[in-house]
Symmetry: C2
Subunit: 472 residues, 2 copies
């Protein structure tokens, strides 16, 4: 192994082969601090050629590689296991914006660029890079691609996959595939791009990417509305899709009343809008290329129509950007408020929109039956069919005792998700956390196809082993 | 082989195993009538289970399978070679709309449904299925998926890949993968869906699909404008993207003056708009969820701005649906007019939009140098970077003599496409026609990755052999 590390040093320079435990700690520690792995070394190449040389060396020595960006993943996909046999391959030094093409409306970036860096580069030429999520200041675009990140702009712009036109990848053999094509149409063989996107570093290392850019919206307007049920929220979504006219329905977020209650309890400084108490709320956002007056009319008309139809019972319209941001702040404080309330059991799930109301009714009831008094923290991107369906301990119960039942709670929720034709990971991926769980929910045929692909592209299983799928 | 055919008959019934040459003829004949292959038999299963049984039988007997939908492909992807060893597996009897979900805005269909059948099913519940192309009455949705079809709606809605949420596929081993998920977000492993889409039947047989549906536009408005150059057309595209306000720029088609001239010569009954003669024209379409008056204003303002900037020199605005259709008829008659003028050499290519003007200048010049007097029939989906860059024989020259130089003409065009970072197949795929050509333009690393995938999923090379890529 000394020879191996010496050769790593020759490739990237001694300063960029970290072997000291203290230096390695942040790279082997899970973002949510639940897990600390071990690594032979953390290697920090400066560019694609160095990445390729390191991967080639690892292939020769059969050393496992854990590719890592900002290490903000939520499913233990970007940290090594506790064997200490793997290297962490940090992409953070690949952090250049390579090119911006204002005519083709594309941007080419290194995989290690922070998401905000890509957003800012787009804004600098009056374009929008729409991907946006909570960890955007820390996460890297390569990690976003490897997990096919979602976030708040999916409803109109799609997920990370939909934004990407081309990739540069170092294969498990250490070859460089230059697929950085800036084309909207290209039908010349298998879709390798979409195979590496979402593969969580188990098929190769994404080192660069080319994305589409979009016009910047001229105005954005939000409203928070009160409803009696999830079924009404789904009805409102349908109404909004068919009645937002030419404005863009850019967000449609479900928030249960208990979520707002938690925010009020733990963040009393955040002003709550004056809305009659209802079981559910929806945050709607309309975006437009025209002055705000247009969106105001569209949103007022929509809410008036929904009230006439008995779907919406109360509403607050933001009449300024400040008010709009305040409504978003409520939505974005839910996770922190929930954490302040105590540990809880999270589920990042998706469903056909037509099944969401029935899913929540059935699963809430089943959970109450089995875990009496548990408190549902239900919110999420309803317009994408994506729920953060989290379960908090009953009031006054021990959180640790409740957490001991995590597997049983997961089982109820995931079995119900499967029953309602949904997915047990909408945004976060499988990582190591759901590597076994998925075997219960995906068909043997699909798992077999995934193993065949893994085996074909990474026959020695050196790319992020133990994540997503294990070959034969 | 008799045993094999008898077992096929047991699976699908004797009526659906065609072995008579006359009965087989249309299934083994290329859409453009350039090629007639041979087949052991044409097999027409009734449903997915029968498809799976036939594929399993073929795997056992190592019989090659050519999956076929409407057989309207343009690159010899859906017809067998002349060995006579393969079966044609026709999906035409799998022609049911399986389900429509108006709340989830999705439709589930058999692969053998005609494209118009899917469009009509969507329209019947006031939704849009946007995929639209010339052969839509004949082609099937399974073929559209297998070639990742483009067409006229790509600019706003994306290609066939972007519309599809889930697939049902019979693997090369005869297993059924049920991936018919109606989810906007699902990050649970490798993207098998996008691997089968665009694979031209070389990895498995698509038997069913689940698609997104969209709101029907309330109004659509077109204009034909006259310009001096392709560079001005690109400038107009940029202007249109940033100034169409909240209307949707739904088409942006480049048409060279020679194209309109050919339409005028061969279809004198089609009325040509009164426009001053210019080298290029652009057909613009704006779509809207609001009454037409909005789009009229947006389009008038856009054209006025473009005229002020010296980009557009003359324009005709359609003021009714009839006028709008007449402008589209001009565009859609180009291919037939070109055929009426004589045989020609076609190229379905794509480029970064920022390179299109330079590509046309350089390639036109090179072609004139090598094939003096050849006539360029240049048109296509400029907004997608997709050109139909076709070359007709010089006036008075023999078309057959000119066609004999097809390879040399292809070489000039494709080498130039590669130089300007484009693709030699934007919409049509590789099929057998470009199976060898692509080796010149794709990197060995990319071809190797494609071979590894083909080898992994179809180790006996029975799925549409000789198309796209040949394994080791």
């Amino acid at each position: 192994m000394n020879t191996f590390l010496e050769r790593c040093q020759q490739i990237v320079g001694a300063d960029f082969v970290l072997t000291d435990d203290a230096e390695k700690l942040s790279y082997v520690t899970d973002y949510r601090q639940r897990f600390i792995g071990r690594a032979l070394a953390v290697i920090k190449p400066a560019n694609t050629l160095e990445v390729a040389a390191i991967v080639k060396l690892c292939a020769e020595h059969k050393v496992a590689i854990v590719p890592q960006g900002g290490n903000t993943g939520l499913v233990l996909g970007s940290v090594p296991d506790q064997s200490g046999n793997a290297i962490v391959l940090s992409l953070l030094r690949l952090n250049q914006i390579r090119a911006i093409d204002a005519i083709n409306n594309t941007i080419t970036v290194d995989a290690g660029c922070r998401l905000t860096q890509v957003q800012d580069a787009a804004t600098s030429i009056q374009r929008l890079f729409p991907l946006s999520l909570a960890s955007e200041g820390t996460c890297t675009i390569g990690g976003n691609l490897s997990t096919n990140a979602g976030g708040t702009a999916v409803l109109h712009y799609g997920n990370c996959r939909a934004l990407c036109l081309g990739l540069e990848v170092v294969t498990a053999q250490g070859d460089i595939w230059d697929g950085l094509r800036g084309l909207r149409k290209d039908n010349t063989g298998y879709d390798l791009r979409d195979l590496y996107i979402g593969a969580e570093g188990t098929l190769g290392v994404i080192t660069g990417a080319l994305f589409q850019l979009f016009p910047l919206p001229q105005s954005q307007l939000t409203a928070l509305v009160a409803l009696n049920s999830v079924a009404d929220a789904v009805a409102l979504f349908h109404l909004a899709r068919s009645n937002s006219k030419d404005t863009v329905l850019s967000a449609f977020e479900l928030i249960s009343s208990f979520c707002l209650e938690l925010v009020g309890k733990h963040f009393p400084a955040i002003r709550q809008p004056t809305l009659a108490a209802h079981p559910y709320y929806v945050l709607i956002e309309l975006s437009s290329q025209e002055p705000e007056a247009n969106s105001v009319t569209a949103l007022e008309n929509l809410i008036e129509l929904a009230m006439e139809q008995g779907i919406v019972h109360d509403a607050v319209l933001a009449s300024s950007l400040t008010q709009s941001n305040a409504l978003w702040q409520l939505r974005e404080s839910i996770s922190s408020a929930q954490a302040a309330e105590g540990k809880n059991i999270k589920h990042d799930i998706s469903l056909p929109i037509s099944n969401i109301a029935a899913f929540i009714d059935a699963t809430d009831a089943q959970l109450q039956k089995q875990f009496s008094g548990c408190r549902m923290v239900t919110f999420g991107h309803l317009g994408d069919g994506n729920l953060h369906y989290n379960v908090s301990a009953p009031l006054n119960d021990s959180h640790d005792e409740f957490l001991a039942q995590q597997s049983a709670v997961n089982r109820v929720v995931y079995d119900s998700v499967a029953h309602f034709c949904g997915s047990i990971s909408a945004e976060h991926g499988l990582g190591a956390l759901k590597h076994d769980e998925i075997l219960r929910y995906k068909s043997p045929v699909e798992m077999q196809l995934m193993r065949q692909i893994k085996q074909a592209l990474d026959p020695h299983n050196i790319m992020n082993p133990g994540k997503v799928v294990t070959p034969f």
